[in-house]
Amino acid sequence: MDSSCPVSYPFPWAPAPDIPEHWRTMRENPLLHVTLPSGDPAVLVTRYKDVRQLFADERLSRNTSRYPASRISANNDLFGDPEIDNDPPRYLEERSVVMRAFSARRIEALRPVVKQITQELMDAMEAGPKPAELMEAYAYPLPILVICHMLGVPPEDRAKFRSLIDGYLSVTRLPDDEVERCRVQYWDYLSELIAAKRAEPGDDLISELIRVSQEEPGKLTPYQLQHWVKTLLIAGYVTTASQIGTSMAVLLHRPEVAEDLKANLELVPSAVEELLRFQIMGTSLGSLRYALEDIELLDGTVIPKGATVMLSVESNMDDDVFEEPLTLDIRRQDNHHMTFGAGIHFCAGAALARMELQEATDGLLRRFPNLRLAVAGEELERPVGGFLAGYARIPVKW
């Protein structure tokens, strides 16, 4: 690729559940000039070692909705909020309040709940028509039910709650005014939920955050609390659902690997990690940053001050760091992939997502040892546009 002539980003997907062509070749240049869906320019840092370092570099600001930074798309700003400071020290104070709910111990305490949800979803799948559609039957409901459990969303509100988030994220590709309506309603619903928890605290994350923000005033204002709840929800839902779907597609598209895993279920954690490295549902758009100063890369190339910068998740395919990166190796050991980022913005929900992915994968392979794609991998369709691009439908049989 010529580094001086901008290419459109995101790059095209591979026709099958596989690594796209550009991801294999893009590291010839440490810095690629790209055009975002909005038409705005950005640079993409392509090499793993640069990416890893820059994730920890405070000269890259995360406040991309405040600076004159490039926009991802003209009318779609999912996470940005000009009133929220995403840089240290403010960001770290807020994050530390939230993160207590995501420690290993707390995540492990949720594991039986997640297991139970997977069992119920699979019961319904088994009783339903074949082929089943994995996204609707399993991948979407699982993370949303887990989030509802964590936040203490009452069972009777869950359907409404999901339709609002789906609309907000435009999962169902609604017209703009509908999406806007969902956003307002969703924000209002969260306000009501938080108010209800304030009046009557329960054993859930919102009640806990309220308590902590009362005990340590100033660390988390009510607005920030609501912003975090909103962000955790959005970040934890479609990402996890898309990864459950695409990772099963990647696996089932490689029957020898799927057989190997079924025969060695103790490998599920390392397989999940490898499927995270081999992820084909997300792009680097989520890593958008803004250069506060000139920044030099390892080979001397300079990112100019003022540039909008993306740190490449495609660096998961860097053969300088990963041996045979294009091989899906469920026994891979030194698998420090960039799917969850690194540095202080390391994905807050990573441990939760991992645990859900482990239970989702283990559950499916145990219950349906004959599970396979009901269509050729090349026929799986991606939604048009959108922030995340997992498969819209994944028909499976067993």
Partner: protein, 77 residues
């Protein structure tokens, strides 16, 4: 080879839990979810996994030292 010494900086820890899942006999977390080192002088047999934990930490918060010299920290060489 001297004894291994492990330290972790809880002020930069972002609760990824990667170290705890890798080596629960060495790493734990406090109430706030921040890293705590349970065993500062782990047995030699854990060397490889300790270095992996140090390299894997997203914020480079873990140090593994030997006889006063660093043998690995949270950056990729």
């Amino acid at each position: 080879m001297g004894a291994l010494r492990v330290t972790a900086d809880s002020s930069t820890c972002v609760t990824s839990s990667l170290c705890v899942y890798r080596l629960a006999q060495v790493f734990d977390q406090d109430e706030q979810g921040r890293v705590v080192v349970l065993d500062e002088n782990p047995p030699e047999g854990l060397r490889r996994e300790l270095l992996r934990a140090a390299r894997g930490c997203p914020t480079g918060s873990i140090r593994v030292e030997e006889a006063g010299e660093g043998v690995g920290e949270g950056v990729d060489e």
